[in-house]
C-alpha cells in the first residue's frame, strides 16, 4: 500500500478533532462554532477513510459519505439560523443567546 502509515492519519485526525473541540468550547460566534463542528466531523471522516484504506474495504467510505450528507444538512440548518439571527440584528454571541435555557 502506498502513502503514509496509519499512525499519521490517526495523529492528524486527533489534532483536527482537538482543534474542532477547542473551537467549540472557546469561541463565542455561532458561525465559528459551526465551522469547528465541521472540522470535528471531518476528523472523524478522515479516520474512517484511513482505516477503510488500511483494511481494503469500502464500508468506511460509505460511512464517510453519509457523514458528509449529514454535515451538509446541518450546515444548511445552522447557517440558516445564523443568517436569520443576523437579519434581526441579534448579537452573534452564544453566551448571550440563553433565552431558551429552560
Amino acid at each position: 500500500m502506498r502513502g503514509p502509515d496509519i499512525q499519521w492519519y490517526v495523529v492528524l485526525s486527533a489534532i483536527l478533532f482537538a482543534t474542532g473541540a477547542l473551537g467549540v468550547m472557546l469561541r463565542r460566534s455561532p458561525l465559528i462554532i459551526l465551522l469547528s463542528v465541521e472540522i470535528m466531523l471531518n476528523a472523524a471522516n478522515l479516520l474512517l477513510i484511513a482505516f477503510s484504506r488500511l483494511h481494503g474495504r469500502e464500508d468506511g467510505q460509505v460511512f464517510a459519505i453519509s457523514v458528509m450528507a449529514v454535515a451538509a444538512s446541518e450546515v444548511v440548518v445552522g447557517l440558516g439560523l445564523i443568517v436569520a439571527l443576523g437579519r434581526r440584528n441579534v448579537e452573534l454571541d452564544v453566551d448571550k443567546l440563553r433565552t431558551l435555557r429552560g
Binding site: 473541540a21 472557546l26 440563553r98
Partner: protein, 624 residues
C-alpha cells in the same frame, strides 16, 4: 329429635334475617311479633326435644347431628355439629323459655322507640347465638357461639347509640370478653395439639390428666368463663352493661349469657377435673366475687346496678357449685336464677317504664303504693333471691352451700363466704324493696308516673312478668336435695357430681342460709323501713367498686398511653415524620442544585461532553 334441635337453633336466626331484610316494609310492632313468635317456636322445639328425650333410656339421650364439615385442615375436621343431650336440652329450655318471655315483654317495653326493628333483629340474633353456644357439638362451634353472644351483647348494650356512656359500656364489655375469648382460643389450640380433636367426647377421653398442660387448658377455659360470667378479675364490664335497655339486661346480663361460664365449666367438667387446682380456683374466685359484689350492691343507688351486682354475686354461687364439683346444683341455681333475676330486672323495667326512664332509687322511692302489681312481683323475686322457702332460690342456693361442706377446709371457708354472701343478699335485696316499694311515694314519682290505660304497664309486659313470678315462686320445687332430686338424676350421665353432701349437711346448710338471709332482711328492715337504726355512711371502698376500674386504668391504660406517647415523641416524630421531611427536602435540594448545571451556555455543555468523553476514553484504555 335432630329436627327439633335444628328448628330450635334456626328459628331465631331466621327471624333476625327476616326483620333485617324487611326493614321498613314491616311495621315496628310486627317486627316484635316476628321475634316473639320465633323465640316461642324455638321454645316449642326445645320442649319437643325434651319430651322425646324423656321417652329414651338415660344412656341413649345424647344425639349428635352434623350438617356439614365446617372446617377442615389437614387431618383435622370440624363439623357444624349439634349435640342434644340432657345438659343442652336443659339450657335450650331455659334460654328459649326465658328468652321468649323477655322478647314478648320487649314488645311492650320498646313500644314507641324509633328503632324497634333493629332491637328485635339484635335480640333474635342473640337468642340464636346463645342457642348455638349451648347446642354446639364441639368446642370450636362453642367458641363461635361464645364470640357471637359477645357480639350481640355488644350491639345491645350500645343500642342507645346516641348516648356516649352506652357506647363506652359496649366497648368495655366487648374488650373484656375478647380477652376471655382469647384465653379460650389458646386453650383450644392446646387441646388440638394434644388430642387432635375438639368434639366433646373425644377431647374428654384424650386430654391429659394432671400436669401443666391440663392446668393450662383448664385455665384458658376458666378465663373465658370468668370474662363471660363477670367474675373477678374480669367482672368490671357487667355493671356498665346496664346501659342497655332493661329487657336486654334481663335476658343477656342476668338470665342467659352471663351464666354461659357456668355452663362451660359443667360441660367441660372432665377437663376441669383433670386440673383440680383450677377447679378450686374457680370456686375461690366465685366466692370472692359473691362477697365483693354483695358489698358493692349495698351502696349503689341505681336500681339496675344493684340488680347487676346481685347477678354477679349469684353467678359467684354458681361458680362455687361448679368449681366444687356440684354440677347439677350449679345448673339448678342457673335455672332458678334465670327465673328470679329476669323477674327482678323486668319488674325494675316496669318501674322504670312507668317513671319515664328514671333509675335512681331515691327518686323512685315509694312507688309501691302506685304500682301494687309491680310491688308484689318484686317481693316474690327478692324472696327467691334471698332464698326464703318455699321460693326457688332456697332450693338451689342452699344445696350449693351444702356441697361446700363436703370439700374439706377449703369448702368450709367457701361455705362461710357463702353464708356472709347470703346475709348481704338479704340486706341489699330488701334495701331495694323497702326503699323503692314501701313508704310514701316521692313527689317526683307522683308527678312523673305514667300509667298505661289505668294499668301499670301494657298487657304484653305484664303476662311475661306474671309467668316468671310463678316460676320464681315454685320453680325451685323441682328439686329439694334432701328429699327428691330429679334434676341430679337427669343430668347424671352428662355431669355427675363429684361431691355428695350428706342429708345432715344439707339440713345444716339450709338452716344456716335461711337464718343468714332472714337476718339480712331484718337488718334491712330496721334501717330502711322501720328507721330504728340510722343507715351507716356508705363506705367509700364500696362506692368505688373496690377500685377495680381505677386499678385497670393504672395497670393497662396508663402504661399503654405513656408508651404510645413515648413512641410518638421519641420514635415517630424524629424517625418517621423526620425521615419524610428529610426525603422531600433532600429531593428539593438535589433538584435545585442539579438545575444549576443547565445554564444555557453552549460552551459549558460542550465542555461537559468533551470531559465525559475524555474520562470514558481514559477508563476504557485503563481497563484494557
Amino acid at each position: 329429635m335432630n329436627a327439633a334441635a335444628w328448628t330450635c337453633l334456626v328459628l331465631p336466626l331466621a327471624s333476625a334475617v327476616a326483620i333485617t331484610l324487611c326493614g321498613t316494609r314491616i311495621s315496628r310492632r310486627l317486627a316484635g311479633y316476628v321475634a316473639t313468635t320465633a323465640a316461642l317456636g324455638a321454645f316449642a322445639a326445645a320442649v319437643t326435644a325434651f319430651v322425646i328425650m324423656l321417652g329414651e333410656s338415660p344412656d341413649e339421650r345424647a344425639h349428635t347431628t352434623t350438617s356439614w364439615t365446617w372446617l377442615s385442615a389437614g387431618q383435622y375436621r370440624f363439623g357444624f355439629t349439634l349435640l342434644t343431650d340432657q345438659l343442652s336440652v336443659m339450657m335450650m329450655l331455659v334460654v328459649a323459655g326465658v328468652g321468649s318471655l323477655i322478647v314478648a315483654y320487649s314488645v311492650g317495653y320498646m313500644d314507641g322507640d324509633d328503632e324497634e326493628r333493629r332491637y328485635f333483629a339484635y335480640i333474635s340474633l342473640f337468642v340464636f347465638s346463645m342457642l348455638l353456644l349451648v347446642q354446639s357439638g364441639n368446642l370450636l362451634l362453642l367458641l363461635a357461639g361464645w364470640g357471637m353472644v359477645g357480639l350481640s351483647s355488644y350491639l345491645l348494650i350500645g343500642y342507645n347509640q346516641e348516648r356516649p356512656s352506652a357506647i363506652a359500656a359496649a366497648k368495655k364489655a366487648f374488650v373484656m370478653n375478647a380477652f376471655g375469648d382469647a384465653t379460650m382460643a389458646l386453650s383450644l389450640f392446646l387441646l388440638v395439639q394434644h388430642t387432635g380433636r375438639l368434639d366433646y367426647a373425644g377431647v374428654f377421653a384424650a386430654s391429659p390428666h394432671g400436669g401443666a398442660i391440663a392446668n393450662l387448658i383448664a385455665l384458658g377455659l376458666l378465663g373465658g368463663a370468668l370474662a363471660k360470667s363477670a367474675q373477678i378479675p374480669l367482672h368490671t364490664w357487667l355493671p356498665d352493661a346496664m346501659e342497655g335497655p332493661t329487657p336486654v339486661s334481663a335476658l343477656i346480663h342476668a338470665a342467659t349469657m352471663v351464666t354461659a361460664g357456668v355452663y362451660l365449666i359443667v360441660r367441660c367438667h372432665p377437663l376441669f377435673e383433670n386440673a383440680y387446682v383450677i377447679e378450686d380456683l374457680a370456686a375461690g374466685l366465685g366466692a370472692a366475687t359473691l362477697l365483693m359484689a354483695g358489698l358493692i350492691a349495698l351502696v349503689q343507688v341505681d336500681i339496675k346496678r344493684v340488680i347487676a351486682y346481685s347477678t354477679m354475686s349469684q353467678i359467684g354461687f354458681m361458680f362455687v357449685g361448679a368449681g366444687l364439683g356440684a354440677y347439677p346444683n350449679a345448673m339448678f341455681h342457673l335455672m332458678t336464677h334465670a327465673f328470679f333475676k329476669a323477674l327482678l330486672f323486668m319488674t325494675a323495667g316496669l318501674a322504670i317504664h312507668a317513671i319515664v326512664g328514671e333509675q335512681d332509687i331515691r327518686k323512685l322511692a315509694g312507688i309501691g303504693k302506685l304500682m301494687p302489681f309491680t310491688k308484689i312481683v318484686f317481693l316474690v323475686g327478692s324472696l327467691a333471691l334471698v332464698g326464703i322457702p318455699p321460693f326457688s332460690g332456697f332450693f338451689s342456693k342452699d344445696s350449693i352451700l351444702a356441697s361446700a361442706l363436703d370439700h374439706g377446709w377449703y369448702g368450709i371457708v367457701i361455705f362461710v363466704a357463702g353464708l356472709i354472701g347470703t346475709f348481704l343478699t338479704g340486706i341489699y335485696a330488701f334495701r331495694l324493696y323497702f326503699i323503692v316499694f314501701t313508704g310514701e311515694p316521692t313527689a317526683f314519682a307522683r308527678e312523673h308516673i305514667h300509667l298505661h290505660q289505668g294499668k301499670e304497664a301494657p298487657f304484653s309486659m305484664r303476662w311475661p312478668v306474671a309467668v316468671l313470678a310463678l316460676l320464681a315462686g315454685i320453680g325451685g320445687l323441682l328439686q329439694f336435695a334432701p328429699l327428691w332430686h330429679p334434676l341430679t338424676t337427669w343430668l347424671d350421665p352428662v355431669a355427675a357430681p363429684i361431691v355428695e353432701p350428706t342429708t345432715t349437711q344439707e339440713w345444716i346448710a339450709s338452716t344456716l342460709a335461711v337464718v343468714a338471709g332472714v337476718a339480712g332482711m331484718a337488718v334491712s328492715w330496721a334501717i330502711y323501713s322501720a328507721h330504728r337504726v340510722r343507715a351507716p355512711k356508705p363506705v367509700r371502698l364500696f362506692e368505688k367498686k373496690f377500685y377495680w376500674d381505677e386499678l385497670y386504668d393504672l395497670i393497662w391504660y396508663r402504661p399503654a398511653d405513656a408508651i404510645a406517647r413515648g413512641l410518638y415523641t421519641f420514635f415517630e416524630k424524629p424517625l418517621i415524620v423526620g425521615s419524610l421531611a428529610a426525603v422531600t427536602g433532600g429531593a428539593g435540594l438535589g433538584s435545585r442544585e442539579l438545575g444549576r448545571a443547565q445554564n444555557g451556555l453552549v460552551r459549558s455543555y460542550a465542555l461537559a461532553l468533551a470531559s465525559g468523553l475524555a474520562i470514558l476514553t481514559v477508563v476504557f484504555v485503563a481497563v484494557r
